[in-house]
Symmetry: C2
Subunit: 330 residues, 2 copies
């Protein structure tokens, strides 16, 4: 294992401390229990959004704390759910009286610990669970579909509604709509290496890819030979479109997400392939996002997310955001 | 070789086309000859900044075209200098009458082709050459020091001056000051693979790193065993500080740049180590930048850049910028 690391016990603490220093204009980092919160206190009457999950998917979620997106993020150890006391402490720190909405990716550990954190928190709160990965039902760490890259879109879009006065109920409803309107599938060329494990999560041949991989390296639909980008992208889109069935006149957001170790040139090539294939099927691409947002450490690979957008979703996608990893309009 | 690619001949064209579509609100992509330019024509009287170089370092340079930074970027094939007709065409396209400043990284091919492009262009123009890499004098592709990550800082800071009415002479002078005030050194854990070559640029052992590596995988100062992050960072900073000799009361920008394949958690850990070491030496860190900005395809590794800042540099660093890869204040 070759990583920038001093010792495994301090890995997360040191990284979070650096993250806090590098973005001290936007966020604060609390270390015990660990959570990232906005530097400026959430304004009175604004619903607070809190997400979190295992580390190793950066910039998700700490990179999305700030105006127009999350109020706090709770990072667990690499690929391990955060503990309930983190969610409790984050909620107590950020809630301005309008309640807390927890945004949770569908993994058994996260579901359990967020639920416990919510029970330990005495204020008004509710949760939404993302499960946008169309690759497989049930997987190594979860029952049902996995929550993956569309979580980024949920956080941006619901973050805007919360910033603009949406109630807890309205925020939950919009989050569930975005999750339902989104489908994602990924492919991996290489494994990642969890620092505490010290060796790759899975073995893969020099000419193989894992089609439908999870963001922790969970198995997908099949292991197969690497194919031309257009073939890979076509197969991913087929699975997503089968699932989402967008109407011809519907507007869509196309999100090409890097798993961490794939160069931007390749992600833009995937984006181009996806645009061509979608156009040939009469699927409109109105908005786009390309880059490393929901990663799996240094894994080489990418996922594609399609999100069907109505006017409410489009408005909240475009609204200003100011976080470490996503910023526009301010 | 496992990459998202259809065929090697179309790799760059397809990637650039996708890049143009994903950021059609900011930029246009011209394919023959290839250059990326701002969507909105450069305003009359504004000096135009044009950079470029081999592809494979994305988001540099195309990701830095837009308000407050570059007017155009000329991408060569992966790790190959762009051809003179690209620079000529880009200059003819963007020059609003106030002249063109070419920003060139110090590699023999880039120097030669930018010089030829400048001669072919009939309008007023001048050039600055970046050479911030303190690792080695002379290298595989260059005479003198290599131009690496500080080029990003030059483009941001001079871009602001040009946006705010600086003359060609003033822009050149500021660019040379930023380059002189900056020092960079990098380390690689893995090699990158150039698509046309189809195999890693260099071999490296499972426990080895290349200390002082270039952004094309050129040899650095030495090949050695991987050490703790704090040791690596300390050795890099020693080389930079020996070179820059910042004064105790001077303000500095600390830039931790990923080579492409290293997770953000590790880059923030490197940032934290660097902050601690610099603080212990009485070196002030006032501004920061952490992320993948000047990459080497999927290479695992990072570079550290220190930039000594006076008030002029600080003002132009903070000013608004709106490009695909760097955006704030608008």
């Amino acid at each position: 294992m070759k990583k920038f690391i001093n010792n495994n016990d301090d890995f997360l603490k040191e990284s979070l401390t650096g993250f806090g220093k590098a973005h001290s204009d936007i966020i604060n980092v609390n270390l015990d229990p660990s959570f990232v919160s906005r530097k400026n206190k959430t304004k009175d009457g604004k619903v607070s959004l809190i997400s979190g999950g295992g580390s190793g998917h950066e910039p998700m979620h700490g990179g999305f704390v700030g105006h127009g997106m999350l109020d706090a993020a709770c990072p667990g150890f690499v690929f391990s759910a955060p503990t309930p006391d983190q969610m409790q402490a984050a909620a107590e720190h950020v809630d301005s009286g309008a309640g807390v909405l927890f945004i949770v990716k569908n993994y058994s550990g996260d579901i359990m610990n967020f639920q416990m954190g919510a029970e330990m928190y005495s204020g008004k709160n509710d949760s939404i669970v993302t499960n946008d990965d169309v690759a497989v039902e049930d997987s190594t760490f979860t029952t049902g579909r996995r929550g993956v890259a569309a979580t980024v879109l949920v956080e941006k879009i619901v973050g805007s509604l919360a910033e603009n006065g949406g109630s807890l109920e309205e925020c939950k409803k919009l989050g569930e709509k975005v999750n339902k309107n989104a489908g994602t599938m990924g492919v991996a060329f290489t494994s990642c290496t969890v620092p505490a494990a010290g060796k790759p999560t899975f073995d893969i041949g020099d000419d193989e890819m894992e089609f439908g991989v999870g963001i922790h390296g969970e198995p997908g639909r099949k292991r197969e030979k690497v194919q031309a980008s257009k073939t890979i992208v076509g197969n991913i889109l087929e699975a997503i479109l089968d699932n989402l069935k967008p109407e011809k006149n519907e507007k869509n957001l196309l999100f090409v997400n890097g798993m961490g170790g794939t160069p931007l040139t390749e992600l833009y090539l995937v984006y181009e392939d996806a645009c061509q294939i979608l156009q040939s099927k009469g699927v409109q691409v109105t908005k786009s996002l390309v880059g490393n947002y929901c990663t799996s450490l240094e894994m080489q690979g990418a996922s594609i997310t399609l999100l069907k957008c109505d006017d409410e979703i489009l408005k909240h996608w475009d609204s200003p955001v100011h976080t470490a990893a996503m910023r526009w309009g301010m």
